[in-house]
């Protein structure tokens, strides 16, 4: 157990060194949020309305989206893909450590770091924009929100871990990874709230786990959805399924792995 804690610690250390990266991401997400803030505000100012969203709900939506993106998103697929492609995975496989545990600890370190750093900035933003937002949170909501964020993060991690593992067969992950990121961003509600999309996309999204990454947590936060245990049980089932898939894929992939490169 201690070794995974160490990996987590060194992941945090790495993040501290790349502090320019950290601030760049923060700047970028705030910038993007700023653009959407003005986009929606200018529409509502001239009397328009998007779907059945009030301006406050919409702005809150994008604020939380950008916050979640900062915390949850990591380059798992890239990392795994590179380690397979360049053969650096070998050094980890030779040690008494589970590869999954290694990647998980590293990513957790990233999340702990991001969570700490970015929460402070976003808290500030929330207070600053209080007039525009109308957030009302009760304890139950907060509990559900945090739980669904954690589950969503799990789904994101496992899914892109599997994508990274496809490098065993594809040899190269960037095109596929890029495409998947696009699709997932769309189906999770990062680009537009899911309930504003055409019917058939909402239907497709219903069969997939992605809405639990962003859309469901935010809907809980903005109180647009009824709080039922299902909201947590379903993503938990998805996590189990994805985990099992990842184990199978890894087992099959390792057999193909030549340890080339390096």
């Amino acid at each position: 157990m201690g070794k995974y804690l160490l990996i987590l610690k060194s992941s945090i250390q790495r993040n501290l060194i790349y502090r320019f990266n950290t601030f760049s991401f923060l700047f970028i997400q705030i910038f993007i949020f700023g653009v959407f803030f003005y986009l929606w505000s200018s529409i509502y100012r001239s009397g328009g309305q998007i779907g059945n969203y009030e301006l406050g709900e919409l702005i809150t939506y994008y604020l939380v989206v950008n916050f979640l993106i900062l915390i949850i998103k990591s380059d798992v697929a890239w990392r795994v893909g590179d380690e397979i492609r360049l053969g650096t995975m070998t050094s980890i496989l030779l040690r008494p450590i589970s590869y999954f545990g290694y990647i998980f600890s590293r990513t957790l370190g990233d999340i702990v770091f991001s969570g700490t750093v970015y929460s402070a900035s976003f808290l500030f933003l929330f207070l600053f924009l209080n007039d525009y937002l109308n957030i009302s949170l009760n304890l139950e909501q907060i509990f559900y929100f945090i739980a669904s964020v954690v589950l969503g993060a799990g789904i994101y991690f496992l899914f892109f871990y599997i994508i990274g593992l496809t490098t065993f067969w594809l040899g190269f992950v960037w095109g596929f990874n890029f495409a998947m990121h696009m699709i997932v961003s769309f189906l999770e509600g990062s680009i537009i709230p899911l309930d504003l999309l055409p019917e058939f996309i909402i239907k497709i999204s219903g069969f997939l786990p992605f809405k639990y990454i962003v859309f469901i947590p935010i809907s809980i936060f903005t109180n647009r959805i009824e709080l039922t245990p299902n909201l947590l049980v379903v993503p938990f089932c998805w996590i189990t399924v994805l985990y099992i898939i990842s184990l199978i894929v890894f087992k099959k992939g390792i057999k193909k792995y030549e340890g080339y490169g390096a």
Binding site: Y18, S42, I43, G48, M182, I191, I192, L197
Partner: protein, 265 residues
């Protein structure tokens, strides 16, 4: 004489770029697919917004599409011609920049065109298609379209220069801190936000900001505005001014960079 040589080198490198891509065919097609999806999302977003309203900060649906189309074409060229100036990243990381510095060709030029993703020409083509579609739905006479298009070409070129220069600036400066991959995302995100008409910024301070220091306005909105609505002297002058300043600035920064950068190993 020199121009001919540079043009030949440019063509040669683009040919090499295509050959490199062909070496990994599967990736090429996946990449086109990924780009295609991204293009779709841009359009779907505008469609959804205009599904609820018919006015975005004074822009109509088809006018908004002109902005998106301009953005697509600029992004497409930035990727296919310049590889988003990412050669500087990989070259410095692998220490290959030395090999380019010693060549008797302008280093910034060489680094700019060294890489290129041919599959992003899809963006350019889609942009052209989209703009044709949008223009045909705006109430402009053929004469107006011709005149506006003429001016548009210049402003489009300026927009490309501005986007290019901004990319060079950000990525070059990032190396003074010698760190990871954040700068890739900075310019990528800045560009992406240029696809929304900058008229949405109703606070004048912000308007000034996006017309000067981070000139989003001139990267897509301004050319689109002139194409869709006609001649505007201030916008045109502004476009040339900003392009000039940013290009000169980027060259200055890039030439300082080598001295600060290339420490001993």
């Amino acid at each position: 004489m020199e121009l001919k040589k540079y043009f030949k080198i440019f063509l040669h490198l683009k040919k090499i770029g295509i050959m490199n891509r062909m070496a990994y065919r599967v990736n090429f097609f996946i990449a086109i697919f990924a780009v295609g999806i991204q293009i779709m999302f841009s359009i779907v977003f505008i469609k959804v917004v205009f599904g609820s309203v018919n006015n975005m900060a004074g822009w109509s649906y088809y006018e908004a599409l002109v902005v998106v189309a301009t953005y697509l074409m600029i992004e497409g060229l930035m990727w296919s011609l310049f590889g988003q100036f990412n050669a500087i990243v990989s070259h410095i990381r692998q220490g290959k920049l030395d090999g380019l510095i010693i060549k008797p060709v302008d280093t910034q030029f060489l680094v700019s065109i060294w890489r290129g993703d041919p599959e992003d020409l899809t963006r350019v083509i889609s942009g052209i298609g989209l703009i044709t579609y949008a223009l045909s739905n705006l109430n402009l006479t053929l004469g107006q379209i011709a005149l506006n298009l003429f001016i548009y070409l210049f402003l489009f070129f300026n927009a490309l220069v501005i986007t290019y220069s901004l990319t060079v600036l950000v990525k070059t400066v990032s190396f003074w801190t010698v760190e990871g991959s954040a700068f890739f995302h900075i310019t990528d995100s800045l560009s992406r936000m240029s696809q929304y008409p900058t008229d949405i910024f109703y606070h004048s301070i912000v308007r000034v900001l996006v017309s000067s220091i981070i000139p989003l306005a001139f990267m897509a909105t301004v050319p689109a505005k002139v194409l869709a609505r006609g001649f505007d002297l201030w916008l045109i002058l502004g476009s040339f001014a900003v392009a000039g300043v940013f290009f000169v600035g980027s060259r200055k920064i890039f030439s300082i960079c080598p001295k600060a950068l290339f420490k001993c190993e």
